[in-house]
Symmetry: C2
Subunit: 329 residues, 2 copies
């Protein structure tokens, strides 16, 4: 099978994985495809709510005898550790009768990290580990936890052309149009947790829930950045630096403002992505979207962000910037 | 000749016209093409420096006898008024032996306004006036003067993602990279005049000249927004509302900052285009690019601007917004 075809199937597995997000928590959202020697998809699977069964188990069960001689494309290395919640996927795969496994991303979990691949190879099944950017992207929350010990953090901003989130009077409804706001709800629906600053909580009393039909149950945990207590239904995070411990299971966190909370996370270098909904309006002398982040020179500002996506949403533009992996940690 | 081909030739005439900008002042920058019955370009012309000769005169002279039976494509209606500086183009065209004239935009100048077309028709030459957006765009400075009594105004801003033009300390060199800054010089080279606020003049002492090889002579007139006196080499504009009288010959004005000058022109509704060079950096709590423009509610901010162009310039993005013609005047 040429590498290009393998990459395409892995891309499809990565797309499937997104169906598990975020309800697969605390497990990573994984996608799996079984493809026959003739190139037909014989089964699909993704990690189900609560994290079990895993994607591979779902696909193998759906395929039944059709798994024979098939190739398994899976976005993350099959797990090597049996738990009370289910068998190790590597054992399931080893006993499945499939001919080959193609994996898009190695598992950094020390209980698996290469052991999953090894166990499958010992069963006489060919295994290829291909570094798939699509698979890594679909696992960014899981990988950020593994490498940084905290969830993947997206800072969402609804800004005017001149970077304001409100008039001086505080009027902020609305900067962006209905399309951008609906897209913002879709963003929320993919998150485990969502956070605002104390000032925003007090002044706006935001619900921060997902108001898209059929996705209401995806509303994330609500957090407030405060040294004090959180109101009922909310949890308190004293500082961005305590993020990893405070949210041990969250893979994806969305910061929704205000300017102080945005600045606190940026200053602590705890933002992986900027999602800027940019309205084609000029406010002029309004409330800025981001407070002081402690820069002492312009050179510190450069090289940190790279545009990864940009699209029109009604009259507004969504601009997505990724934290540059080469920027200072 | 099908309309689509006529439009394409008018588009080519509009592109040619840009070669005359801004040195054609005080005349509009016009482009003209003579096309043979077989569809071959037999001559081209654009308004020369100082405004004479006009584009049609240049093309007809270059064509000589080859003008016979040709079609003249011209971005603006040929002038009907003879002056000490040259003959009326309508008379030249009427006597040229060409078969047809296609015009991309009627001339709002009352000395011509339809009289140019009429004179050519009386000579037995077919004339089509086609409303060409490309021709109108190439004449926007001339048309803005005719309709609004002032030059076409572009507000240029070099902004961070959060809308800042400098750190709180005032450090502003550089927000954008070399590609964006070179593009900014190209923008200057197409302007008749350039303006900054008094604060920017005092603090930055900007040269505001064009530093592109071969275009140094295109440096525009320098203006400062002030009720006081202008330093040598500069002219003073007391208020955006006096723009039309203060610069009677300028067709294109560029506002280069700072935040107060930008706000003054926006508040007076004297900005036709925003050219935002957007750097992929976050400043956080820096100096905003646009000061108070007197909005009393967010609804006043909406519907005024529409994205017309967006392009990558090195690491930066250029976003161009046009004043919405339907917005309140």
């Amino acid at each position: 099978m040429p590498l290009e075809a393998d990459r395409r199937w892995l891309g499809a597995a990565a797309r499937l994985a997104l169906r598990g997000r975020p309800l697969s928590r605390p497990n990573p959202a994984v996608g799996a495809l079984l493809v026959s020697p003739l190139g037909r998809v014989v089964a699909r699977g993704w990690t189900l709510a609560g994290g079990r069964p895993h994607a591979e188990a779902v696909a193998l069960k759906a395929a039944g005898p059709a798994a024979n001689e098939a190739t398994l494309y899976v976005s993350l290395e099959p797990c090597a550790h049996q738990s009370q919640r289910g068998p190790a996927c590597a054992d399931l795969v080893a006993a499945s009768g499939i001919a080959r496994v193609v994996i898009g991303c190695g598992d950094p979990d020390p209980r698996t990290a290469g052991a999953g691949i090894e166990r499958i190879r010992q069963a006489g099944i060919a295994v290829d580990l291909i570094d798939s950017p699509a698979c890594a992207a679909s696992l960014e929350g899981y990988l950020t936890r593994a490498h940084r010990g905290r969830p993947h953090v997206t800072l969402k901003l609804a800004l005017s052309l001149d970077g304001c989130i409100a008039l001086v009077s505080g009027e902020s409804q609305w900067i962006t149009g209905v399309e951008a706001r609906a897209h913002g709800h879709l963003l929320r629906a993919r998150m485990d947790a969502i956070l605002v600053g104390g000032g925003t909580l007090r002044s706006d009393l935001p619900r921060l829930d997902v108001r898209l039909p059929g996705l209401e149950s995806r509303s994330p945990e609500r957090w407030v950045l405060t040294h004090g207590d959180a109101p009922p239904g909310w949890q308190a995070l004293p500082s961005p630096t305590t993020l990893g411990q405070a949210m041990p299971q969250a893979q994806y966190l969305l910061i929704e403002g205000g300017a102080g909370a945005a600045a606190a996370f940026l200053a602590a270098d705890c933002v992986d992505r900027l999602a800027i909904y940019r309205a084609p309006i000029v406010i002029g002398g309004g409330q800025p979207g981001i407070a002081d982040i402690g820069l002492t020179g312009l050179s510190e500002a450069h090289g940190r962000w790279a545009l990864s996506d940009s699209r029109q949403l009604g009259k507004d533009r969504l601009e997505v910037y990724e934290r540059n992996p080469c920027s200072p940690a």
